[in-house]
């Protein structure tokens, strides 16, 4: 009898299938506290047609599939939730298929990473930019958009799913479909509307509704004039109020705020980093731009005015131009604003990294930070909050990052801490992002039951045999 492994080998070639114990171990876990589970096989397709054959085979054999790009979602999302799953590692599908200068989008495969996009655009389309995360440069741009993540244009344009013009996916039943304007053919990936917006069938689903094999993502013109500033502020409410004013005035393309401990880490302070009485609570990197020097100058003056006004309440608030930051820290500092991935070094301190992150109503942002801080401090972790105003201040993001050694005791403690943070977030009606199963289940308990039921029905409709990432999102 032909074994399952042999059947997969027939599709992708023997070199691209493994059931070795090394692969089963490494793909069974990630950097987070989420419990491991071994897959039975790992397969690496290189084309959409191979993905299609894999999905068809999985249907015939009733084998669960888990899509994997680089496994750095920080939510345990590529860890199988059921036994005998097959990991579909997509890194061989790594082509940037097209950059349309006029329509300002790129069409990429799932193995394409931020680093590769950055290099490709710099070399071939220097007037265009994508938007970059603080993750390692080598994480998938498609996975990031599917997860509705946030990057350095999110303060202006919102979560990463907003950047999707359309996509091609292999459905759980094996059909290859397109959504968005490219239903009328290649070189027409200009947008999603006016159509039933089926991009939403794939974003936020954590790989439960199919395997995306192509995606068109929006690019933006590089602004000719830019300036960067660092803003140091005190107190959660005052910091968030000030950020709200700055972003509502449409001054910043990006505003990423970090606990001051993270700023200290950036300049090389070794772990563990403690917060010291009297130092600022947050450092925010602000990116201002303009189509002319005059426009930029106007924004700078307005920003200085807003910060000066804030000094009535908090005289120690400090706005400094990035040139001064770079002099103080190092030239590396320019890298952090130019390509935020360059700043993620301090998150590689140990073998463990996790966070509880959410999108939240602006009204509840400050309170979430105050109370979250209390929880993190209670557990004795470093204060590593990261917050971002999103989509022109329509909503906000916050997360508390925990870097830790993955031993049994820490895993337990981290789970408890994240649990408490999640309870707090849900109390404030925040929506957790990149939810591990335990977190999704807590969300279900509080969410409109008809919403959860609708999600379940759509999933069942698309995936009658339940082969795509079963158990994910607590379904």
């Amino acid at each position: 009898m032909v074994s399952l492994k042999e059947k997969f080998e027939k599709i992708v070639g023997a070199d691209h299938v493994s059931d070795g114990s090394a692969e089963r171990y490494v793909y069974s876990r990630d950097m987070t506290e989420n419990p491991p589970r071994e897959p039975q096989l790992v397969v690496m397709p290189s084309t959409a047609e191979e993905v299609q054959q894999i999905v068809r085979l999985a249907n015939e054999e009733r084998v669960p599939l888990v899509p994997f790009a680089t496994g750095q979602n920080v939510g345990g999302l590529t860890i199988p939730q059921v036994d005998d799953a097959v990991i579909v590692d997509l890194k061989r599908m790594n082509r940037i298929l097209n950059v349309d200068e006029e329509g300002m989008y790129m069409v990429v495969e799932p193995g394409v990473t931020f680093g590769h996009v950055r290099k490709y655009l710099d070399e071939n389309h220097p007037n265009l930019r994508y938007t970059y995360a603080i993750s390692s440069p080598f994480t998938s741009v498609i996975a990031n958009a599917l997860l509705q993540g946030l990057c350095d244009l999110s303060t202006r344009y919102g979560a990463m799913a907003e950047f999707i013009n359309g996509l091609e996916a292999v459905l759980p039943t094996g059909e290859i479909v397109r959504v968005g304007s490219a239903i009328l053919g290649d070189d027409n990936w200009f947008g999603r509307y006016p159509l039933p917006d089926l991009v939403g069938l794939f974003t936020g689903w954590q790989g439960m509704t199919g395997i995306v094999t192509k995606m068109a993502l929006q690019l933006w013109p590089k602004k000719p004039f830019t300036r960067h500033f660092a803003l140091f502020t005190f107190g959660e409410f005052m910091t968030t109020d000030l950020l709200k004013q700055i972003v509502r005035a449409d001054l910043a393309e990006d505003a990423g705020a970090l606990s001051f401990s993270v700023v200290k880490g950036l300049i090389g302070m070794p772990a563990p980093i403690e917060a010291i009485e009297g130092e600022p609570d947050y450092g925010t990197f602000l990116n201002l731009s303009g189509v002319t020097r005059l426009v930029l100058g106007g924004k700078v003056r307005l920003l200085e005015g807003i910060v000066n006004n804030s000094k009535v309440k908090e005289p120690k608030n400090l706005l400094i131009p990035f040139e001064a930051v770079a002099r103080l820290m190092s030239e590396e500092a320019y890298g952090w604003v130019d390509f935020p991935s360059d700043s993620f070094k301090q998150l590689t301190e140990y073998d463990g990294l996790t966070w509880m992150g959410t999108y939240i109503h602006p009204r509840n942002w400050g309170e979430a930070l105050v109370k979250g801080r209390e929880i993190v401090e209670k557990y004795g972790y470093e204060l590593m909050a990261f917050l971002k105003p999103m989509k022109g201040m329509h909503f906000c993001e916050f997360k508390f990052i925990i870097r830790f050694e993955r031993d049994d005791e820490n895993l337990k403690k981290v789970r408890q801490c994240n649990n408490e943070l999640l309870d707090l977030a849900l109390d404030l009606k925040a929506i957790p992002y990149k939810t591990p199963v335990w977190s999704a289940k807590k969300l279900h308990e509080r969410a409109d039951p008809n919403f959860v039921e609708l999600v379940r029905r759509i999933r069942d409709l698309l995936d009658p045999n339940g082969i795509m990432n079963p158990g994910r999102w607590g379904l």
């Binding site: 070795g20 490494v26 390692s136 440069p137 080598f138 998150l347 463990g352």
Partner: protein, 378 residues
């Protein structure tokens, strides 16, 4: 090895699997020949580190399917150059310790075991008849001298043109040197986790160098250079002499006027391949370039150089056990070299020379050792 300290234990809670080691930082071109070819996460540094940790903690049982992820790595150290984490400079040490454990627990790869047996029986991994000391007679060398030229097995039994060019250059420069009854330095054994015969060979070499009354050892091979300088002290083998690589020695000889390269009408375009054991493992990047800058040649660098140089594919036992992949890796380096327009590809490691040649086409630029290049102009 005598050191009881486990580098795996030291870094048991390191490596977040951030993928940074997969590509050249800020350049985004591939860095890891192993991961690039095999593709599974297990074939990158991070996968190997997680395996090493899991095996150490007992979360994973030893079994033969682990052998490929453990051994299909050239130990090139490019991952070390890209990793930003605190353990970065210990990655290759972790991989080597993992290999030593693998050899103990499940045995090594058959091709590695074969060259271990050869080293034990013939003192070189090729199983060639041991004849090193004959060179003294052939080249009328003294029995004792200030400098010992440590030929290395690949130069002596395979890439003999490197040995001959080195001896010729040293003679022309008037260097007081000899060769000793050297045994394999142990590099291929250390890199493949087969540590038990290493001490004896190392001690033999130490004694032979001492008997020659030398103050300095010069190696042709980057692997020998690393082993004599970095690994012998870990084995508590003190050579008591200065160890230099031929590129450093050539620079010294040129600087003090013992070698005066003559000019030529045609200045060939050359490119330089940084051997991993010389560059990343030992930090020697400038000396070969300084030497080349004194010659009537024009150096055009490849797109990846120095810390980021793409590996030739031969190291860490990869050539012996995975020749196809090893040559495929070398072909990628050759493609980089071709893009420079070079007429000659120059390096300073017999192992790199061999594999780069294996990756070249017959009508491509010849691959030569730096001593051969210098030899052309003196």
């Amino acid at each position: 090895m005598t050191s009881d300290e486990s580098v795996i234990e030291q870094w048991l809670h390191s490596c977040v699997r951030c993928s940074n080691c997969k590509y050249v930082f800020r350049e985004y071109s591939p860095s890891c020949p192993s991961g690039e070819h095999f593709g599974f996460e297990t074939y990158y540094a991070s996968g190997r580190i997680w395996l090493a940790q899991a095996l150490y903690k007992g979360e994973l049982e030893w079994e033969s399917s682990l052998l490929d992820p453990i051994f299909a790595c050239t130990t090139c150290g490019n991952c070390e150059s890209q990793c930003l984490a605190p353990h970065s400079e210990y990655i290759v040490d972790m991989i080597e310790e993992l290999r030593a454990r693998a050899v103990q627990e499940i045995g090594g790869l058959p091709s590695h075991i074969r060259f271990r047996e050869n080293v034990v029986q013939c003192h070189n991994p090729y199983g060639a008849e041991h004849h090193n000391r004959n060179l003294v007679e052939t080249h009328s060398l003294p029995l004792q001298a200030e400098t010992v030229y440590f030929v290395g097995c690949t130069s002596n039994y395979r890439e003999t043109q490197i040995r001959d060019a080195t001896i010729s250059v040293l003679k022309k420069a008037g260097v007081d040197f000899t060769v000793v009854d050297e045994y394999c330095c142990g590099s291929p054994l250390i890199r493949t986790g087969q540590l038990d015969p290493v001490n004896e060979a190392a001690q033999h070499n130490a004694d032979a160098i001492k008997d020659a009354g030398a103050k300095r050892v010069v190696t042709s091979c980057s692997g020998c250079y690393r082993t004599l300088s970095r690994d012998y002290p870990k084995l508590d083998i003190e050579l008591g002499v200065e160890v230099v690589h031929i590129t450093q020695f050539l620079k010294e000889l040129i600087d003090k006027g013992a070698i005066v390269p003559r000019s030529t009408e045609h200045r060939p375009i050359i490119t330089w391949h940084d051997p991993c054991h010389l560059g990343r493992h030992m930090g020697i990047y400038d000396e070969p370039r300084d030497v080349i800058s004194t010659l009537p040649v024009d150096l055009v660098e490849m797109e990846t150089t120095r810390e980021n140089a793409w590996c030739c594919g031969a190291g860490g036992g990869a050539k012996a056990a995975y020749n196809d992949w090893s040559v495929e890796t070398s072909k990628k380096r050759i493609e980089q070299a071709l893009r420079t327009g070079a007429e000659l590809i120059v390096t300073a490691c017999p192992f790199c020379t061999r594999n780069l040649r294996d990756g070249s086409s017959e009508d491509g630029p010849p691959v030569i050792d730096i001593t051969e290049l210098v030899g052309r102009f003196i």
